[in-house]
């Protein structure tokens, strides 16, 4: 076989290098290698950051979630395998906080997507004061969430708050006056309202960017073909936002399930446990009860849930996009 191969495919002859060509080539290679090394040096800070502040804590807390460790009482963590994960689903506080997180996430996500898309479609039109509206939508983003929570706390205060004053005294609708944050049903609604106020601007900007990236020729052609108003929205604009949906939905899911600041500032999880969300329970377990192992396990469970939802969202939207294509 070897003989045949040799006969049928003669060895390629190397062309002898011209005088000076080898030196140039070596110089080129050296220069390329130096360039690469410099490139690595440029990304070194980022690598260090990822390793020290992301990868290492992730692995460390992953290990911690498999241990029983109260750092105020225990000298060292004790390995308990998956016990913390199993205990979590038998713990009513965990189940309640997980359920509340989903309730918050469901309503927040649906309203967020619908409202921000609607606002983006509105701002995509050629209307007067468009720049002003765009700025106004974006303004809540620059207000720190904890500060916004304190302002909402004041607005929703039952006896002397602005909302009840407007409802009761200005608009003469006393039957609408409520202790907004002190009763279960309105407390969750109030937290969702704050979160939406704080985040709709960002989602709107994302949708607006998506709308602006649609080829103007497509829009012009559609208009020439008679697509106007709702027809234009449903048949031209919305189908062309596929990539944007993936981004906005991912961001929406993340924000919906990692909710923490709003209930922490506004209700402290109350009344009772009606607005207690999972990250609050994780925080309490870690920093009030000092139970680091169990807190890490709860954090991991929510992290996994978020990951699964984001992957499902990506797969679903990609599949839907492929069908449309």
């Amino acid at each position: 076989m070897g003989l045949v191969a040799t006969e049928t495919s003669p060895p390629r002859l190397r062309r002898p290098p011209l005088a000076g060509q080898g030196a140039v080539r070596r110089k080129k290679i050296r220069s390329r290698r130096t360039g690469r090394s410099v490139g690595f040096l440029f990304i070194l800070p980022a690598l260090l950051f990822i390793f020290v502040f992301m990868l290492y804590p992730l692995v460390s807390s992953g290990y911690m979630s498999l241990t029983e460790y109260n750092f105020v009482y225990d000298d060292d963590p004790t390995f308990v395998g998956l016990d913390n994960y199993v205990s979590a689903f038998e713990d009513p506080q965990f189940v309640t906080s997980l359920t509340n997180t989903f309730v918050f996430g469901f309503f927040f996500f649906i309203i967020l997507i619908v409202a921000s898309l609607s606002i983006a479609l509105f701002l995509f039109q050629k209307i007067r004061f468009n720049s002003f509206y765009r700025s106004a939508v974006f303004v809540p983003l620059v207000v720190p969430l904890s500060l916004a929570g304190l302002v909402f706390l004041w607005i929703l205060q039952p006896n002397y708050g602005l909302l009840n004053y407007l409802l009761g005294d200005v608009f003469n609708l006393p039957f609408l006056v409520q202790p907004w944050l002190s009763q279960s049903d309105t407390a969750m609604g109030s937290i969702i309202a704050l979160s939406l106020w704080a985040t709709i601007g960002f989602e709107t900007i994302l949708f607006l960017a998506g709308l602006q990236s649609i080829d103007p020729d497509t829009l012009e052609a559609a208009e020439l073909d008679g697509a106007r108003g709702f027809k234009k929205i449903f048949y031209i604009l919305l189908p062309n936002l596929r990539e944007t949906y993936i981004l906005t939905a991912t961001w929406g899911i993340l924000h919906a399930l990692k909710v923490f600041v709003e209930p922490m500032v506004m209700t402290d999880g109350g009344p009772g446990t009606s607005t207690l969300v999972l990250y609050q329970q994780v925080y309490l377990t870690a920093f009030t009860y000092f139970d680091m192992g169990y807190a890490s396990a709860m954090g991991y469970i929510l992290g996994l849930i978020i990951l699964v939802l984001i992957v499902l969202n990506f797969l679903f939207l990609r599949k839907a996009g492929d069908k449309n294509a």
Binding site: R36, V52, F71, L153, P174, S182, F287
Partner: protein, 433 residues
Amino acid sequence: MKRQSKVAMLIAFGSAVALVATGCAAGGGSKGESKSGPKSTSINVAAQAWMIEKFHMNDMVDNFEAANEGVTVNVVEYPDNQSLSNFALQWSQGKSSQDVVVVDGASVAVQFLAKDLIIDFNETDFFEGATAKEKFVGESLSFDQLGDVQFAIPIGLETYNISANKSYFEEAGLVGVDGEIPAPQTWDDLYDMAAAMTLRDGSTVTRPGMTIQWGPNAVNTMIAVEQAVRGSFYEDDVLTFDTPEMRDVLEIWKKGVEEGVFSIDTFSNKDAGRSNFNAGNIPMVLETAAHVPEAIPTIGAENSVVLAMPGSAENGSYGFTAGILVPSASENQELALQFIQEAMMSDIQVAVGEEWGKLPVIEEHFDKIDAPWKTSMYDLVKISEPAPMYRDLPEIQVTGKQLLQEYLTDAIDLDTFLADLEKLIEDANKDSE
């Protein structure tokens, strides 16, 4: 991958590992490291923002630095008790950035005794001279004591009781012929008083008669009320709330909430009662009675009075103090103790007491206070009881608050509430260490 690339990657990875290893090594100092050495000239004192203002800590620092040339005291602000976990994590690694830590409610510090993370003041020479034990007011040291261990030094004696705005009582015709508010004998009496001062516009309550602390300190409120109505919150040495006296009180609370007589603002804002009282918007608030002097600038000295809740004049209430801790890992313990002794136990406590109702713990300073509420408040403080020093007290406080709020908003009934609360206490680790 080319050789140079591999080398660069290796350098990056090696640097990262080295950095982490350095961090870990730095955290591994042993607890037993010597705290002696050259005499220190600088200490860090950690306190919550409100403490810095109310305990006049900057004045303490100025006086101390003036009296001890070359010494620097840095006051470091921390947000709340949950930040203590960060401190404890550092202490458990044998290090401490703080030399003195002032905590809100000294009983939270008990948990740090388990691994000797804080010092026992009895093992130092702190109780000598101006701060000898006999110089402290009454039993104030016992608030921060566990067995033979003095784990904290109290600062600012307080007790739970009713802060009342007398002008509302006068308006409602509830003041006696002697011009004083008659102390309510039972919770029914107190409910009637609050109901008489509740304002309504049609069916809407525009001003509740009373606010009760049902926020993060709800369990402390229950402890205070039970101590007052029953004389103890223990049965067989275990914390309990399922008693006939407490059942009566809880039913009255529920009725008060349903009828808008007792406000539930504190569910979402723990400071709502105090803010409204200080602003003159509410007749009564049940939480720390220290709000009485605090409200004087706004509602007037003649209107801001301590009103003993039912039973408290005889049985006391829940008493507490802020606590001063010294971490075992502090390398400047000597200077820290000197600062506590000379600055924190100084006559600055007089101004703190007069302005904020946080009574001095040193008798000499206590005697200098000239305020009408001084005696009534002290009479209450000296018969009041601290919270049980259980390892799982934080969990009882958090979950107990949640259960109480569920009961008051009708999410669960009284029997379920008490059964769940008793189960919580039964399952809790009640060891002190």
